[in-house]
Amino acid sequence: MADQHQFETHNAQSQSQAKSQRKNNTDPENTQEQPDLLHKISQRRAQDRENDSTETGAFPAVNKAIPNLKPKTRTLRTKLISSSLVAVLCALLGYGYVIQSNNSGEAVETMSESELTRLISDTNMQVDRLKDRKEQLSSQLRSLQEAADKQSQAQRIAEENAAASGILSGRLPAEGPGVIVRISQGDKKNIDPAILFTLLEELRNSGAEVIAVNDIRVVTSTYFAQRDGTLNCDGIVIKSPYVFKAIGDTTNLQNAVNMAGGVGSQLSVKYGAKVSIETSDDVKITEVAPTTDYQYAKIVE
């Protein structure tokens, strides 16, 4: 209130001053008072300008350098300290920035609820997808394992087949229970190929799996022949005693030879040869037949 009052009185004063100025200008007689008055007027105007200023604390002067904030004389030491402080602060900023940018991937704490919900549902969906994928892959694995089992079984069968056919074709040596038939030279008559072949057939019929005659492996193409008074088997001369080794059921094989009126009695009666049969649990037939290269027969594809 007091300020306002003063302002009003001051206004009134200035108005009266202005009036007096106009009066002074119109009156040339009072010229000796003029310098003093002019001085007063100009002083008053300066005061007015200052009082009429609209610049208050709410409207700070922008872009005005603050005088004398920095002391004029700065020592090198303070300069160094201040610039190093600035550098340290900037280093802190850069450090924080890099760390934060490295770390910003996993800031779960700063997420809002909706973001977290979305994240959870996303993760759940991903989990479901991965589970599906896992099931697919495990079924694939199962089928592959089955296939591998099948393959190994097939390989096992193939190996068995190879062994069986190897034994059958005389490629592989064999052992097992069987008989060894020894036939000496006949007293009444020389042993001829026919009777040997009959013996061989009898052994075969009674289930001999592998047969060898005097170190010659008997295969499907084995033959007996008489040439120049000597017996030969597969082109190799055989001499008495003729030894038949056969692997198979021992009693069957024995019966086949010893049968009444069979090949054994024929040999002893007709030819006067001595026939001895020896059974063994482990007849070893190490003789192998040479492999034959098939010239005409080919495997059917």
Binding site: L93, G96, Y97
Partner: protein, 110 residues
């Protein structure tokens, strides 16, 4: 010069040394960084206006960082942490933009 040097040193140190940030500090570090950036740009502007004072810079740096952190802390305690974080980021972003525009004017006016 010291500022640029400091920034480079800080970035290099940050690349090579990677400490685990304590979990309590994690929500505040980005705000701190933005506040510090604002202080730095304010300092750059003052430098161009030839009224840069290192004392003012240091004080404004710490004041900015501490104020922003306290504000976000307050927001976290009131349950509006993320919103207040956004608010602080927006305000600081506006300040950064205005500082940058002033600096740009200084540079292109010559």
């Amino acid at each position: 010069m010291a500022a640029v040097l400091g920034l480079i040193i800080g970035v290099v140190v940050g690349v090579f040394v990677r400490p685990d940030i304590p979990i309590g500090l994690q929500p505040y570090l980005p705000i701190m960084v933005v506040a510090a950036l604002d202080a730095l740009l304010g300092a750059a502007r003052a430098y161009f206006e030839r009224s840069f004072s290192d004392k003012v810079f240091v004080i404004s740096f710490f004041a900015n960082v501490i104020t922003a952190t306290l504000l976000v802390l307050l927001g976290n305690q009131l349950g509006v942490g993320s919103q207040l974080t956004t608010a602080v980021i927006v305000v600081l972003g506006i300040r950064i933009f205005s500082n940058v525009s002033t600096i740009r004017r200084f540079i292109f006016k010559g």
